[in-house]
């Protein structure tokens, strides 16, 4: 029997396949404009790998912003619970999880292997992956390049809370001939400040763990660690935390790790 977690985020869709003992597959696809089509693409990819979703040998749990589009899922669970469960499985103990998603950012307290409380940013993209994406776009770079630029820069002030206004600020900085490195550093700093604010409001318990698509950035981890005053960890599988959590929920039972 196979247990698959599908995390359809606003930017990327992550998939983890487990059996009773271990992880047998994981992959990521861009979400594109239609989460329905992404769900179909995921099903095709699983079929090609020899794990058809409709063969009776597979249980699917969907999560993420596009979770309702996965019509072959047995169940949908919110990304908050899935990141909590998946993060715990990767780290091996209770912790606080920060997930900077494409649409929203969450701080999740994990106790006893499962989320006990959480805080999510308000209906606004400031402090989310979307904010970084828009600003990177404006600077003509991708996210990896944005972090590389930022590392070589001194942050310029980007004070607006609103993404649209912040973009205007970035445009003003470009117009004033400021260095791209300094603008990029300012952009990252703006997100870090928002995320730290969310963490302060919620409170941090135990080790802090960054999951989601941005967890591979050593620069971001460093900035968060410094501002929070505690080391923020990540894991090579961190971006799959939501999908892994969903797969673990699909598998059920008492086992909280892979």
């Amino acid at each position: 029997m196979y247990y698959t977690g599908i995390d359809i985020g606003s930017t990327a869709s992550k998939v983890v396949v487990l059996n009773e003992e271990t992880m047998v597959d994981h992959f990521v696809l861009p979400t594109g404009w239609s989460s329905k089509e992404t769900a179909t693409a995921v099903a095709q990819r699983l079929k090609d790998a020899g794990h058809p979703v409709d063969g009776g040998e597979m249980k699917v749990v969907a999560t993420g912003y596009g979770r309702i589009s996965v019509d072959y899922a047995a169940k949908t669970v919110t990304e908050i619970t899935c990141h909590g469960r998946g993060g715990y499985a990767l780290l091996g103990h209770d912790c606080t999880i920060i997930d900077i998603g494409g649409q929203d950012t969450k701080v999740i307290t994990v106790e006893g292997g499962t989320p006990s409380s959480f805080l999510m940013n308000d209906k606004c993209s400031a402090g989310t992956g979307k904010f970084l994406e828009i600003m990177a776009n404006r600077l003509g770079v991708d996210l990896t390049e944005l972090f590389a630029l930022a590392e070589a820069g001194h942050p310029l002030a980007i004070s607006a809370m609103c993404t649209v206004f912040a973009e205007s600020e970035v445009i003003s900085h470009i117009g004033a001939g400021e260095r791209r490195e300094d603008i990029a550093a300012g952009v990252v700093e703006s997100v870090v400040t928002r995320v730290v604010g969310l963490c302060t409001r919620h409170g941090l318990k135990g080790e802090v763990f960054l999951t989601g698509g941005l967890c591979d950035s050593a620069y971001l981890l460093g900035r968060l660690s410094e501002k929070l005053g505690v080391p923020v960890q990540s894991h090579p599988m961190g971006r799959y935390a939501g999908a892994l959590g969903a797969a673990l929920i699909a598998r059920g039972g008492k086992k909280r790790t892979i």
Binding site: V77, T78, E79, I80, T81, D104, T114, P115, S116, S117, F118, M120, D122, K123
Partner: protein
């Protein structure tokens, strides 16, 4: 999950049906007093032979119009109430001979000054403390309100009139409380959506005794149904206590949503919930006006300081209603409830229960995000 009864009517349907009845009553010469808040001692309105009616303020429709005169960053309930009056779209406001406001929060207090330019708005000065001096001051305000009603309607309100009104209103509080306490039954035989809607809309049934009879009938039906079909069974649906700001304007966005996601809202610590209905007034009190003053000052609204009695009440309700989780609703820019939510959260988490705070307004723009938060909150409650 408990189902809505076949003849269930939504708040808006009942509100609209009330328009015609109100017009008939007005044509027969009825006196009508429009109110916004549970701090207004409606006993005096009944004693004056008038009908109190709750004015509209739970729809986002008139908010853009209100924002022409009011700041955008203001409580949606205040903007909606004012907007209805400004656009003349609340028939109850139209039919009111007198509108009564009260200085509960700063936003309402200043809004009433503008409302007074549209229709005479009488404002009761509510103290925000429960000292003996405050009781005496509030008693003075109650007497001033009595004189206002006498002058407005050309009547004399006797002490006996007030005592009689106290008896009738006490009875109504008991009936509504008996109904809301159906939420104590486990598993829940009735949706929180129905519980809340019926109580909130009952003010559009203008005959107090008829209103009581209808609610008592439903209470009995639900009790019988519970005995026959629910008693002794178990349910995996989390039992939710709702606390915080008046929630009428977010009834669908929060109460309906959380029940559709698999929980039961069983208890309401809110203006229209049990909060105001627990404490009754002794109709034989030597000084009936002072008795009124004491009762109303004891309402656990966050405008009061200190207001520890609310935290204690929430704690008691958690036990009495066997609550699994608490959701607090904060309407945008409501400072007093927003600040007080710190104490409520602390009380709830110390009892080992999950707590979710949702700050929102009447718009639908955060519906998706709220649904995710509600769903994730319910997922933290494992039953």
């Amino acid at each position: 999950m408990a189902k809505l009864p076949q003849n269930f009517e939504t708040y808006n349907e009942i509100r609209q049906k009330g328009f015609l009845r109100m017009k008939e009553l007005k044509d027969q010469g009825a006196r009508v007093v429009g109110i916004f808040c549970t701090f207004v001692p409606v006993e005096l309105i009944y004693a004056a032979g008038a009908i109190p009616v709750g004015l509209c303020g739970t729809s986002e429709d008139p908010i853009p119009a209100a924002e022409a005169n009011l700041p955008r960053n203001l409580c949606p309930l205040i903007k909606s109430s004012y907007g209805f009056a400004l656009t003349d779209t609340c028939p109850y406001f139209y039919f009111s001979d007198l509108v009564v406001g009260e200085t509960t929060c700063d936003g309402k207090k200043k809004m009433f000054e503008l409302l007074n330019e549209i229709k005479e708005t009488y404002v009761m000065q509510l103290p925000h403390v429960r000292t003996e001096e405050a009781v005496q001051f509030w008693k003075g305000e109650i007497l001033r309100f009595k004189e206002k009603l006498e002058e407005k309607f050309g009547v004399t309100i006797t002490e006996d009139d007030v005592r009689q009104a106290v008896r009738r209103k006490n009875h109504e509080r008991d009936v509504m409380l008996g109904y809301l306490e159906l939420g104590k039954l486990n598993p829940a035989p009735i949706t929180g959506y129905e519980l809340g809607t019926r109580v909130d809309a009952s003010s559009f049934s203008f005959d107090l005794e008829e209103r009581c009879a209808q609610v008592e009938k439903r209470t009995q039906e639900v009790r019988t149904d519970w005995e026959a079909n629910y008693k002794g069974k178990s349910s995996d649906r989390p039992r939710i206590l709702l606390t915080g700001c008046p929630y009428g304007g977010v009834r669908d966005k929060i109460v309906k949503a959380v029940e559709e996601l698999g929980a039961d809202v069983v208890a309401f610590d809110s203006c229209s919930g049990t909060r105001e209905k627990l404490e009754k007034i002794d109709p034989e009190a030597p000084d009936i006006y002072e008795a009124l003053a004491r009762k109303y000052l004891n309402i656990n609204c966050s405008v009061m300081s200190p207001n520890e009695s609310r935290t204690q009440y929430v704690s008691d309700m958690i036990d009495e209603y066997q609550v699994d989780g608490v959701i607090e609703i904060i309407l945008q820019a409501c400072h007093t409830y927003n600040v007080e939510s710190f104490s409520i959260k602390r009380c709830v988490t110390e009892k080992g229960l999950p707590y979710l705070n949702i700050e929102t307004d009447y718009s639908q723009s955060d519906k998706g995000q709220i649904n995710t938060r509600l769903a994730a909150f319910l997922e933290t409650i494992e039953k």
